[in-house]
Symmetry: C2
Subunit: 394 residues, 2 copies
Amino acid sequence: MSEYTKHDTSGNSVGLVEKKFVTLADSPNEIVLDSGTRLGPITLAYETLGQLNSDRSNAILITHALSGDSHMAGYYTQEDSKPGWWEIMIGPGKAIDTDQYFVICSNVLGGCMGSTGPSSINPATGRQFGLDFPLITIGDMVKAQKLLLDHLGINQLLSVIGGSIGGMQVLEWSVRYPEMVASAIPLATTTRHSALAIAFNEIGRQAIMADPNWAGGHYYQGKFPDTGLAVARMVGHVTYLSDEAMRIKFGRRLQNKKDLSFNFDGDFQIESYLRYQGNKFVRRFDANSFLYISKAGDYFDLGSKFGDDSDVLALASATARFLVVSFTSDWLYPTYQSKALVKAMKKNGLDVSFCEIKADCGHDAFLLPNPRLSSLVGKFLERIYRERSGRHAL
Amino acid sequence: MSEYTKHDTSGNSVGLVEKKFVTLADSPNEIVLDSGTRLGPITLAYETLGQLNSDRSNAILITHALSGDSHMAGYYTQEDSKPGWWEIMIGPGKAIDTDQYFVICSNVLGGCMGSTGPSSINPATGRQFGLDFPLITIGDMVKAQKLLLDHLGINQLLSVIGGSIGGMQVLEWSVRYPEMVASAIPLATTTRHSALAIAFNEIGRQAIMADPNWAGGHYYQGKFPDTGLAVARMVGHVTYLSDEAMRIKFGRRLQNKKDLSFNFDGDFQIESYLRYQGNKFVRRFDANSFLYISKAGDYFDLGSKFGDDSDVLALASATARFLVVSFTSDWLYPTYQSKALVKAMKKNGLDVSFCEIKADCGHDAFLLPNPRLSSLVGKFLERIYRERSGRHAL
């Protein structure tokens, strides 16, 4: 029995965690990517929380979104002021209960937080890959995660959970390695980007590539394309919010001023907020990784091999139990996309629960404290775990 | 009786038109801007179509949006392949019937198509103003238009018509010079930008100012900030469309390819479209004018002087008859904003007709052929003209 309130988003933290690194390959010394290119061996940075039980049946894989990393919860040091990106959901007594489950999260292939990506050293040149890094897909990210699980000796996942581009990885897992996936929770995601989503990503990429410091992607010895990346992040932030969220959060409120300045300093709080977010992002993220991961999101099309009615055919191989969640004000991955996904699952006779959560904070909702989301995910996991292990989760 | 079908968007063109220029001021040699700064004398570029009648009662002012200009319809030369920006609405037998009305359109103050703006020569330095140009407001644009009408000897407008930022000018006209405005048609507009609209404008401005060629706004002797301006235009284009419009127009269709390229060339048609629009724009538009006009849009707040319930109080001075039009898929200026405007008008007992037109093409709808819009505007103008002149418009 846990001493914490179940699914409490403000509950205890896992405390200190350690980032680990592992070198992986599937053919002798490399992996074959979806594009046909060979890369490797690759490194994945990952973190684990909780304890793997004796029958190895309590492992949960967390997949992160564009700007996330392996640091899902807890702190690296006592001095850290900020915990991992999904602290509200992962920890003792929380929805993804580290008292019960062994939770794994790795930085995606193509990322810049410890896993092999465009800012890694290219063994062929001794310099950073830059744009010589091959294009990677959501499938490639998942393949790399599978190698990590092999390394950890895990051949069964109680669940795969992620939102946005992380949700795409969840869907890819469920059809690429169905025998390994007992349940899957795709949040605020889609089986394929709309033209609108591609458009915003492309604007971000163009902003980066328009920055002269980008230098064709080989900027690591000089100045970084910070201004381009900041604009890309600003675009992203607008798509993560919603009209309603911005009206509530900012409206037309002025920044530290009573009157309009009649200059271009930025009168409105929304302007200051976007500039702040843009500038903060460039201190922690690599511009080329933004290009590669956003492109992987645009390329993702769950059923592209199958033509018409492709999602239904793609999901024919899936066996997982699904919990699909969308958010009312998410206009990047609107509910109608999740509903189409659920329909395709049902056509395959899959066990799927669906919930559209009322939230006015847009696409970002899956990253923000939400009792409904915590409860849904917590109870779903308990049910799956209880059914599979034949014992009570508490 | 016109020989053309009434309100036919594909009807005859006005043919050749001439752009004219006029120097204007209100105090001896300058105008006082809303910011308190003095500027002048100013130049406005303008065009007129049709004939002013003997009692000067048939004048209509057209106000343009961010990237528009005085060239509302017709062609400058026989060789021109493209007519003015509202050719579908303005011409013989069209909704804004040049057989009946004397139609005027000027490039806004702050623009770059012949009117005084940041790319004009600053008399104090002999160089282009750049960022030494004072910030202008929607009110300043309207004040300049009023001086143009004084110059033309027109003290009564049958109507003021415009969409988007042009619609803001329409609203400003109706409260700043109510005695001159018999009717007003604000299309796809708002009394104040939402945080979302400000956010997109700010991203465009940041993209421009992040371009090293921008050089603090003083780029006219060197390279122009084309890459920044192109990104700003790409952002704009996404906001002018809609999720639905993009799905229909582009979906995930690939550009000239059967398979994904696995590089950053731009696989999807939406990517090529945005790049094309961005590159096309920089050939005809000044980056600083983008900064100034978008800022004027963000600053606009019809009732800012009046505090709470400000639109109602602001519109207390209006006497015009209004036709307010919004479009279902416009998410930059959503229908709820037009409905709030109409409510504020009704609270003042104003004569207002409102129509939300079903259109899947987003904010851009007011610029695209739409029989419903043409019919609404055409009939509204006929009614007003008939009532005021005591004779039949046909």
